[in-house]
Amino acid sequence: MSRSRIFIVAIVIVVFAAVGAYLLFGNNRRTPQNVPFDVTVTDGKTMQPSELKVNQNDTVTINITSNMDGEVHLHGYDIAFDTKAGQVVSHTFEATISGGPFDIEWESTSAHLGDLIVNP
């Protein structure tokens, strides 16, 4: 392929990448929100609600009430909730890492309780 044709292909790819970058990174002007979740964990096996969805840079507060002592762990963000039966345990953090689903587990048994999804 001649140099001029390689140049055309390169231009087409660069334009494609630039439009893609604009679509993904250029429209992100959302104002961060405070997002609280009241979550109930039962027997270290289930969690209600099981899916927590936020947007990147939101300030997230998760209040967990469990009927058992133990640790609920939010992976990816690496946050441990040391629960006491019947008491509310809270953590507040900024959702700086987009992506997921980040597993929320009952740490001692690795039982999957739910997920945190952080949309970019």
Partner: protein, 463 residues
Amino acid sequence: MLDLGIFLHGFGPRYDLPAPLFFYIFAAGGVVVISFVLVILFVGDQVGAKALQYPRRAAPLLLPVARSPWPRALGGTIGLLGLLAVIVSGLFGSSNPAVNPAEYLTWIYFWAGLVILSGLVGNLWYLLNPWAAVYDFATRFVRLGPVWKLPNVGVWPASAFYFSFACLELTSGVANQPHVVAIAAIAYSAVTLVGMILFGRDEWLENCEAFTVLFGIVGRFGPIESERDDRGAVSAVYVRPWGVGLLKPAPSGWNRVFFVILMLSTLAFDGILGTPAWQDFNITLEPIWLPMGQFGFFLVKTTGLILVTFGFLLVFIAFIEAVIFFGNRKVDLATTATGFAYTLVPIALVYNMAHNYSYVMVQSQVLIPLLNDPLQKGWHLWPAVVGLQPSFALAQASTIWFAQIVLIVIGHVIAVYLSHLRAGERFRTAQKALLSQYPMLVLMVTYTMTSLLILAQQTTKTG
């Protein structure tokens, strides 16, 4: 510590959110538009043997390195230490895969990382192969001649070993058990070393050693090329554009075609496991496999992998028949199929990069804190790294999506271009070459779209 959740894939979770629909449509549209641009640009290109001539530039600075025995000595030592680390930590370390280096070394550094790196820079397995290093070291002291001549088996044995490895990773359900990984490494090491002793080093490596064959193909995509003189010594080193090495003369035959298709199908199957379509297939067959327990789980997945492989093979052969029909020239089917099979490698390679991008970026970092106490025996070998948390700086969702579609499109462009050159070489006239490329273009667009679709659908739980 970043714990690793559910291990239905070889090992470890992926934090890949499916790409949003608008972005998938944008990427898919881009692939179609760029394909048409390429077809228009190709009109009137060179044909015959000249079609395969690609630009390359001599790199005299690399020649002393290529001639030196030290890169292979160093690479072989690293490869051997890596193999020993997998065996020792797999057998004597924690049974929890999240804290066992054997899992990270095997599935992230070797399987995902080294394949990507070899595509980018060249065949690194040539330097790192621990079994070749052990054999070469042993021959300094002992004469190891072949006992038997290897029958003319092509790369069918390598395909069988590669398929077995893919089953270990994707269908066995035990890839996340460190002792299983260690035992598999010991068994394969024994088979490879005995094979080299009985049948000859190069004969075994080139026909039966799955990773030598695999990285040989992946390395052809890379930008480094060497030439050897009559005595086998490196006489020149060149740099070349990525991908064009796949046009270099290579052994042909159905065994080679099958190996390439197996590469494509195992990669695709890894992604398919995370799609709703697979979940539906799995649920439909539950009454059959569920009563068989773990074996049923293995059976249904292995059946899926075999079906996908033969599905890919049949589709590929059908399209090659169409290519030959439109090319309107009498050519050997196996040779033509081999030549075109290699042109699909860029799509597979970029899909592999896109699929594993965040997995490699994030999970590779989790190994570092484990170096303080690799066997979980309470050691304090490197306390400074204990609290290290993986950085997501290059693995934010938007960054991952952007990297994925740019990689997919670049791979598609390279594949379409290589296929066009191969058609010029095979069909000899510009018109026939162009005509023959329409079915190949349809196949490549379909394959790329499938890659995008899988990336847009995959989920952490099973991907």
